[in-house]
Symmetry: C2
Subunit: 244 residues, 2 copies
């Protein structure tokens, strides 16, 4: 009965139920109104995520999600010739993969509300520190992602959203508006701190509320407890729960 909002993405989505996470915050906001379904796949790029499309969003489903956030790019933007090159996807293919995702989602349900989210900026110094902490002296000296290249992917994502007339969140730009974004929003140069999660939550909440359906306008799935008459509780449930 409760509509579903799916968060589709990589590790930044998968980890969004950690303490202070943006997924959990959305779930709390839509509490009793919609289910937030986490479909984050750590390490996945858009090329690999395409294999999941028909499984996560089967055509002909009687209850497709009402909204989906599509949040990829952090792994696609890994550089060739560096430690994470296996995840690399060329930027034009990244854009076309996103397009295929949107086409598929629209085929599932033409009224589905789709939001494209760019990957966050990259703090190269933070990535290096992280690599040194993991691998010590063996850590590669050259970063496996750069902020500049991540910016090109973000641009393509926003460009596609414009072409398809979809809302988008340019996290790469948004976060860099704040001084000290490197440590304030990113805990290892790439993944989000609680403050970083708060930015994603606020942006998704804003886009949902402005362009779609604010949680406050959605009905509770069953009567609010204050509407239940303790002398005759069945009455409040009658409409929604006939036959019980």
């Amino acid at each position: 009965m409760r509509p579903q909002i799916v968060l589709f993405g990589d590790s930044i989505t998968e980890q969004s139920y950690r303490s202070g996470g943006w997924g959990a915050a959305l779930a709390d906001t839509y509490s009793r109104k919609a289910d937030i379904v986490n479909r984050g796949f750590g390490g996945y790029n858009t090329r690999w995520a395409l294999f999941l499309l028909h499984h996560l969003f089967p055509l002909g489903s009687a209850t497709p999600p009402v909204a989906v956030t599509v949040f990829f790019g952090a792994n696609d933007a890994a550089l060739l010739g560096r430690t994470s090159e296996r995840q690399h996807v060329p930027v034009d293919e990244y854009k076309e993969n996103l397009r295929r995702m949107v086409q598929h989602l629209k085929e599932c349900c033409s009224t589905m509300f789709i939001v494209l989210i760019t990957s966050p900026p990259v703090d190269e110094e933070g990535r290096k520190e992280y690599a040194r902490a993991l691998y010590g002296e063996k850590a590669m000296k050259l970063p496996e992602r750069t902020n500049e290249i991540a910016g090109l992917y973000a641009e393509k994502c926003v460009e596609l959203a414009r072409e398809l007339d979809l809302p988008s969140i340019n996290l790469w730009s948004k976060m860099q508006e704040t001084d000290g974004w490197q440590k304030k929003f990113l805990r290892d140069g790439l993944h989000l701190t609680e403050d970083g999660n708060a930015v994603v939550y606020q942006e998704v909440f804003r886009v949902f509320s402005e362009a779609w359906l604010p949680a406050s306008k959605m009905p509770y799935d069953f009567p609010h407890h204050s509407e239940i008459d303790p002398e005759n509780p069945g009455k409040a449930f009658q409409q929604q729960c006939l036959g019980v």
Copy 2:
């Protein structure tokens, strides 16, 4: 494809996706393995929750939840003749209502793993402070819940679990083992602080892991990214995603 674990309860379940909440922490633990579905209904007692049973857990469902936490009592234990009396349910009825819930869940799926959770202890001083903050001088001088009465409900809950051979979590006892539980675990004498949420999470995690299925033993729903061959990504998806 991903199995569902349903959290069925009152506001302490409904609010479990707030920052540091036990529901979000479980969702993070079972990430990529099971979906944690929040079916918390703030203000509900067991009598009202019975009206929801067939809707939340329809008989004959092809995909019933694999596990359910049943976490009621905080509202049932509201005292007659006090400000929350409309929520009051006599303690023997509370026990029978819980029994009907379990019977229904077992009818849905005889192998469903069901855990009964008692309500937390009540800090009467905390409740009074909360009432004064809300209603000022108009606040009733007598608490609408007492810890002693909450303890009787907890006893009945644990008693029923024993009769039905189900695991239970006696939160009422467990929390009182810690000095200063009143402020450490409860933010308004009844609802949980982050520390209180951590206790619920740890207990549910322990019961799930000991008596049922630890997250670590459950398979990922799709290949881990490290298992994907970048030269031939289709191979890793072949078994699970035939036909894509």
